[in-house]
């Protein structure tokens, strides 16, 4: 577990995460601050096959020298570590030497990030994300011009929203000209999920928020009217629609900045304007505000190196100067391929330029910064990962016409009760 240098356990910070993103950041900090005095030992366990969480949980529970000093949690399961069963292991940022109130204000951290990272038992902030993953609607310029006569983001935003009714109106206009509005029902799910008033759990019982229940209807509407290609997100066909090679060309996708950089760009079929759909995209405000994804960083309350960890966490999540991580992340100087991403600090975003060729030169930060305000961090539970899997499975059965709505809802409640021990209201 020790690093390669001759540093001892007292000067080694144990970092647990699931990709090499954060270790690279930490290494950059150490390289830039030679008198930091600590080295980092990273434990990376991928989240595929569900192995990260059990290992992290055991390591936290066992304690001792090998326990993590600093650990990361992804948005799919972060609630468990900031508010749920594992929240007691986290150290409040205040204990790390961070002036929470002042710094979050200076950096203009997106509210939803803080909501998620605040522990309900003592109202302390225990985790923050470095990215901002507020979502927008990413659409094809050429199709926009063909159907709506313009590709201007503000005008398109007015066509597809606000609200789902306008969205479906736009869908029928697109259908009339032979286009689908989205690739599959998964594309609108995150927006639906995040816009609900309450989460899946209310007073310990399963609650189906009416806005989420409406997803059943939306999904069926998309399929029955042919507004989508009925794909499943992250499947082959979904990627093919980014190139426009699905059954019908698709107008747009819902997603945060990372969707553009890491998913759309590599799959658009080209690397510069004119190839594939590169450069034919633009971003506009989503009909419904939402967020999707992100990584939160936490510290172990039993760590003996709180001050050092505090410095690292502060640099990653709250530093809003040009030396901080967030500035590098936003302006493309952090990653090899120079991708620009949205960060949690509104201040940094304001200082940065998010224009990219992929979007035909549009500055995407103009759209994404306000998008973060609409994201909600209060309607989540630590069981969301599992419940969402069950829910999407049942919705697929319904929209395929295999079940009635009553049966779908009944089966959903049954499955949640059987698998998670959570009874319905």
């Amino acid at each position: 577990m020790t690093a390669g240098n001759s540093t001892d356990a007292a000067h080694t910070i144990n970092l647990w995460t699931f990709t090499d993103e954060v270790p690279k950041m930490v290494q950059k900090y150490i390289d830039a601050n030679p008198d930091f005095g600590y080295s980092v030992s990273s434990t990376i366990i991928a989240t595929t096959d569900g192995a990260y969480q059990p290992a992290l949980d055991q390591a936290l529970a066992a304690g001792g020298d090998d326990a993590p000093d600093m650990y990361c949690a992804e948005s799919a399961f972060v609630l468990k570590y900031t508010q749920g069963d594992a929240a007691e292991y986290a150290a409040p940022y205040a204990d790390l030497g961070i002036d929470v109130a002042k710094e979050t204000k200076d950096a203009a951290i997106a509210q939803y990030t803080m909501d998620i990272g605040t522990r309900p038992s003592d109202k302390q902030l225990v985790g923050l994300g470095y990215q901002a993953t507020g979502g927008a609607f990413i659409y094809r310029r050429s199709i926009a011009k063909d159907v709506f006569g313009t590709d201007d983001p503000e005008k398109i935003a007015a066509e597809v929203g606000p609200g789902w009714d306008k969205f479906f109106d736009a869908a029928s206009k697109l259908k009339a000209k032979g286009y689908g509005i989205v690739s599959g029902d998964g594309d609108i799910w995150h927006a639906v999920e995040n816009s609900s008033d309450q989460g899946w759990l209310v007073d310990g019982k399963l609650h189906i928020d009416p806005k989420r229940e409406a997803f059943l209807d939306y999904s069926k509407k998309l399929k029955d009217n042919g507004y989508s290609n009925d794909t499943k997100d992250w499947d082959d066909a979904w990627f093919a629609d980014m190139k426009g090679e699905g059954q019908q060309p698709i107008f747009g996708f819902f997603g945060p900045a990372w969707l553009i950089n890491y998913t759309l760009a590599p799959n658009c079929g080209g690397e510069k304007a004119g190839e594939g759909t590169y450069g034919d995209w633009a971003v506009c405000t989503s009909p419904i505000g939402f967020f999707w994804g992100g990584t939160w960083v936490l510290a172990n309350k039993d760590s003996a190196k709180k001050e050092a960890v505090g410095k690292l966490i502060d640099w990653i999540t709250l530093n809003c100067t040009k030396d901080g991580l967030q500035y590098a992340w936003a302006n493309g100087t952090m990653n090899e391929n120079g991708t620009k991403d949205c960060v949690a600090s509104g201040t940094v975003m304001g200082m940065s330029d998010g224009s990219i060729d992929f979007l035909g030169g549009q500055n995407m930060f103009d759209v994404f910064v306000p998008a973060n305000q609409y994201a909600k961090g209060t309607n989540l539970t630590q069981y969301d990962e599992s419940i969402n899997t069950i829910w999407r499975d049942q919705v697929r059965e319904y929209s395929a016409g295999n079940k009635t709505k009553e049966q779908t809802l009944a089966d959903f409640k049954q499955n949640v009760s059987d698998n998670l021990g959570i009874e319905a209201e």
Binding site: S42, I44, I45, A46, T48, Q58, A59, D66, F239, T263
Partner: protein, 280 residues
């Protein structure tokens, strides 16, 4: 089919079926190797392709560029799999010998006990095992992945079933009369007779240990101790930008040693009856 009097027709049938099964068995390997030469985007568009593409070197570069070293993973996998296989095979045969050759009071109960262990679903003893390892602070210890193989109930079962018809007590008796000690008899007489069984089980044990992802994944947190399957899973874990091309290359590299080991050991299974000095 067996009633087909025409020996030639029968042979043709056998060959036809065998070739069909061979193609069926090879297909996924072929797809995997082909995918190792394709780029991530190509794979995301069409998961299956029968013809290679030109990204092999690029995928290799990505694989080597990650923060872990495939050569190290290979060595770790090798050490763990070989160690576990040797332990399992030797001690299972030893235990089976004890059950077959000797008469002792608790024998039947003991055998039933071994069978009972075999029937426990593995998933739930997992929790207790991890808890134990963490509490005792023996995580990151490769021995924890090797020594438990000494107790392999299924292998004991197989060795016992194989031993019953193929090892006769007369041989043991005559060796005793010749003055050989019990252990000597086991090592010099019984083991050679069991060669096909040993080879068969060795292959299975090696393969299953080599491919075992979950247990090492949770127990080994030190990068220097990672096994190959762990490294491949790390590649798949970059959710936003999974490099499928190098994943498939990693999978191919993981499988390659297994194929070699299998080819080396398989002659013990293919070879004719002339191999073991077997008596009825």
């Amino acid at each position: 089919m067996l009633k087909n009097k025409n020996s030639r027709g029968r042979k043709i049938l056998i060959y036809a079926v065998s070739i069909l099964l061979t193609l069926l068995s090879i297909m996924p390997f072929w797809i995997m190797i082909m995918n190792a030469t394709r780029s991530t985007t190509e794979i995301q568009q069409h998961a299956i392709s029968l013809i290679p593409s030109g990204y092999l070197m690029k995928n290799l570069a990505i694989l080597l560029g990650k923060s872990f070293n495939p050569a190290v993973g290979f060595m770790n996998s090798l050490v763990i799999s070989t160690g576990a296989t040797l332990c399992a095979v030797y001690f299972s045969t030893l235990t089976a010998y004890g059950l077959v050759v000797y008469e002792w009071r608790l024998k039947k109960i003991y055998f039933s006990f071994i069978m009972a262990i075999m029937m426990i679903p593995a998933q739930v003893t997992m929790i207790g095992f991890y808890q134990m390892c963490y509490r005792l602070h023996v995580t990151n210890n490769i021995l924890m992945l090797i020594l438990p193989a000494i107790a392999s109930p299924a292998m004991v079962f197989f060795m016992r079933q194989y031993m019953y018809p193929s090892l006769s007590l007369e041989i043991v008796q005559s060796a005793r009369i010749d003055g050989a000690g019990e252990f000597r008899i086991f090592n010099t007489i019984a083991l050679p007779i069991m060669k096909p069984a040993l080879a068969t089980q060795a292959i299975f044990c090696f393969v299953s240990n080599w491919n075992n992802l979950f247990t090492p994944l949770v127990l080994l947190t030190d990068k220097k101790k990672y096994t190959m399957p762990i490294m491949v899973s790390l590649l798949r874990g970059d959710i936003y930008k999974t490099e499928y091309g190098s994943v498939y290359l990693g999978l191919t590299l993981t499988v390659l040693p297994l194929i070699i080991v299998y080819l080396l050991l398989s002659k013990y299974i293919i070879a004719g009856v002339a191999l073991g000095s077997v008596k009825g």
